[in-house]
């Protein structure tokens, strides 16, 4: 089982990301959960959302405290929220940022596996809005291999209709443009 924690800001679509990923995994015959950090959501405030994906039925229903993967949707959260809290020693951190990997490592004092991609830039070019949630799905698929890219097609089409194609393109670009940082 893989456990993923998403950090975003209210309105940026972290909940949509976990929904898309869970639906795609279930469509592929896997077992999955997608859930928000339960509570009142305020636009702009730091929020979290969670995924569990497994080949076996998932029984656990408590929160995720020791994630395998942390995804940061909003570049500014890196210096505001303790995003690496509880991340497993061999876990993966994926950050949407225009900064260099070494800058991110320094801010977070983080030495583990790190992937970076400028998803906001990609989203602006492909979608015309700086909302990185679907773009970052591509980064998650690349870094974790949890699902194939094609699996995202059906849930994105269902959710986004005629703009699903643009979201797929943005997702594919993040998949291709994401970089793995050198080991610290």
């Amino acid at each position: 089982m893989i456990e993923i924690r998403w950090h975003g800001r209210g309105g940026q679509g972290a909940v949509t990301s976990v929904e898309m990923l869970a639906l795609a995994a279930i469509e592929e015959g896997k077992y999955a959960q997608g859930f928000p950090a339960f509570g009142p959501e305020r636009r702009g405030a730091p929020v979290m959302a969670f995924n569990r994906v497994s080949d076996k039925p998932i029984k656990i229903r408590s929160g995720i405290y020791r994630p395998d993967v942390v995804v940061v949707l909003d570049p500014s959260l890196v210096s505001l929220v303790p995003v690496t809290d509880g991340l497993k020693p061999d876990g993966i951190l994926i950050v949407n940022t225009s900064k260099t990997a070494s800058e991110i490592r320094k801010v977070l004092n983080y030495k583990g596996k790190l992937f970076t991609v400028d998803a906001t830039h990609i989203a602006k070019e492909e979608l015309g809005v700086p909302i990185s949630n679907t773009t970052m799905l591509g980064a998650v698929l690349k870094a974790t291999g949890v699902l194939k890219m094609d699996a995202m097609k059906s849930p994105l089409e269902h959710r986004f209709g005629r703009v699903a194609g643009k979201n797929m393109t943005a997702m594919k670009r993040a998949f291709n443009e994401m970089k793995q940082a050198k080991a610290a």
């Binding site: 339960f38 029984k59 656990i60 408590s62």
Partner: protein
């Protein structure tokens, strides 16, 4: 059964009810039930089912509208949570006294104050004595299955009582997970049309549930109590019938690795699955720990509980509600009452925990089993509280 599909459980609750050929839904939205209310309204507005959605101004009105509609012979659904259920409180015993088979989904949430929108069982426990059949669900699949079964149980001529399906708020309502839906044809086969005992109609005026003098009120109350106790037979029958048709067997009391257990954890609702992982871990460490889960809260399944806990030395009850200034959590208090005279009954440890959305992890269950070992008396205790 069909293929597993991913869906939020709150949405799935409304989809399950939509398969039940309902005539009326009167649902007032409240967090964390809102997605049930919104999706029910969508389904009816879109014409996917031939039913009336009554937009009401409060939960007092929604349950009152349900009572009126049910009295005409309609199949009726409502859903609520927390303060909404508290506002319904006045009407709940009237619905059961009139023997109206209304089905309700309750997204369990703490009761104010202070305001708290998160999950516990503080909303349903004050309704305990309302004369409703009261079921609890552990995962999304059970929400679908029990929401459908609830109509069959409630409307059975031997029962004719309202039924509430408890769905832990957020933990279940807001979870996207894999679910299987029965087909419309399968539900049609399982759930025939309602055949009401009596109906309100302008052409045939009658009075229902109006007034009792002291000379008959006690008899009416006893009859209602008897009806609720008798409903268990039908509940078991419907569970068995579901098991035969859909392959998922339900019991009024569920057990997990309980047979040879010296210590049993007892849960209601969504905690049961996490608790089962804690049991697995403790079993791996050689501890004889098991799990008992109450699916049915009213009528209380006392014989089934006795059978499930036979031979265990310690029963640890997880209470997600408080009876302030009372003997303990409602579940433990109930069990202690029933077992009072039982020779060789287990020691009963009562933890008040998981309140107002406080997460309960695998580690918490293990810690409570540890704590129970050292607890000398049977007084209740708050678990994990900061002093």
């Amino acid at each position: 059964m069909g293929k597993r599909i991913g869906m939020e459980v709150g949405i799935a609750a409304a989809e399950a009810v939509a398969l039940c050929n309902i005539d009326v839904a009167a649902v007032y939205p409240i967090t964390p039930q809102s997605h049930i209310a919104e999706h029910m309204a969508d389904i009816i507005h879109d014409g996917r089912i031939d039913a009336e959605f009554i937009t009401v101004e409060s939960e007092h009105s929604s349950i009152s509208a349900c009572a009126g509609a049910s009295a005409t012979g309609a199949r009726v659904y409502t859903a609520t949570s927390s303060q909404g259920l508290m506002l319904m409180h006045e009407i709940l015993p009237i619905v059961s006294a009139m023997r109206l088979p209304v089905v309700m989904g309750n997204a369990n949430r703490a009761v104010s104050g202070p305001l708290n929108i998160w999950n516990d069982h503080g909303d349903i426990m004050p309704q305990r004595d309302s004369g409703w059949i009261c079921l609890f669900t552990e995962n999304g699949q059970e929400v679908i299955d029990l929401s459908i079964m609830a109509f069959k149980i409630a409307e059975d001529p031997e029962v004719m009582l309202p039924t509430v399906v408890n769905i832990d708020g957020f933990q279940l309502t807001h979870m996207i997970e894999p679910l299987e839906f029965p087909t419309q044809a399968q539900v049609n086969k399982f759930l025939p049309d309602r055949k009401p005992y009596a109906t309100l109609h302008p052409d045939n005026p009658m009075t229902m549930g109006c007034f009792n003098m002291p000379d008959i009120f006690t008899e009416t109350m006893k009859a209602k109590d008897t009806a609720l106790w008798n409903s268990k037979k039908t509940i078991v029958k419907v569970f068995n019938e579901w098991g035969r048709q859909f392959g998922r067997k339900y019991n009024v009391v569920e057990t997990y690795k309980a047979k040879d257990a010296e210590t049993l954890i007892l849960t209601m609702g969504s905690m049961g699955e996490t608790a089962s992982i804690a049991v697995d871990e403790m079993r791996k460490a050689g501890r004889k720990v098991g799990l008992v889960k109450l699916r049915l809260w009213r009528p209380f399944p006392v014989e089934e509980l006795r059978a499930a806990i036979k031979g265990c030395k310690t029963l640890i009850v997880m209470d997600r509600a408080i009876s302030f200034g009372g003997a303990g959590g409602p579940v433990a208090t109930e069990i202690k009452s029933f077992l009072f005279h039982d020779k060789g009954r287990p020691r009963i440890v009562d933890f008040l925990m998981g309140l107002g959305g406080r997460d309960v992890t695998v580690g918490d269950f293990i810690a409570m089993v540890e704590r129970a070992k050292n607890k000398k008396d049977e007084t209740y205790e708050y678990y994990g509280v900061r002093e």
